[in-house]
Amino acid sequence: MSKRLAIISTHGSLDAAYPPLILATAAVAMDMEAAIFFTFYGLEIIKKGNADKLQVSPIANPAMPQPIPGISVPNIIGVLPGMTAVATNMMNGWMKKANVAKLSELLNMAQELDVRMIACQMSMDVMGIKKEELIDSVEVAGAAAFLEYASDDAIALSF
């Protein structure tokens, strides 16, 4: 039975940030080990003080529920200025109503439970992100470091 979970987190939108943190913390709670490799926009999740500022875009996201039930808003409306903020507020409202923990809380839990968090050096170089901008418990490494971890019989997931 696998005792290790290796996750790649590539996206920095509000909805995409949840699954890696939920699964990694739950894995440790189930006596497994977990690591998350944050690459490209995934790095936004582990920037200091940024987790609760992530947004969700309605553009090209037709599965997003409509703001007013029963009234269909064309997806193209999403390109209008301010629509990302509207969608983000809407989703944060749903999360709160469903008692879902904030991303910052999950991130704190991940740190507390010793989820290994690896920031992709190459992505940091591409995007001009410095280690000081990231939360303290993050280590900076490359593909080989993640693969070395994952190669030890890990369940590997990508988000």
Binding site: I22, T25, A26, V28, A29, M30, D31, A98, N99, V100, A101, M109, L113
Partner: protein
Amino acid sequence: MSFQFDQELDCSGLACPMPILKTKKAVDALQTGQVLKMVATDPGAVPDVQAWTSKTGQELLGHEQDGPKFTFYIKKIK
């Protein structure tokens, strides 16, 4: 259904994965043989607590539902 318990944990109003994370911490703090009573309102906690005890080797003595509240009795085995 009711069991003797040594510690109580209220996870009411918390969604996945918080009840499991808090349960893990609470059980970690118990002595072997002690029992945790955990209350949750997330219906997903029922399969999740079962999966958690099964994977971690702790014992789910029983669980019951009272309206929106689910109560679990978990014995620390190791």
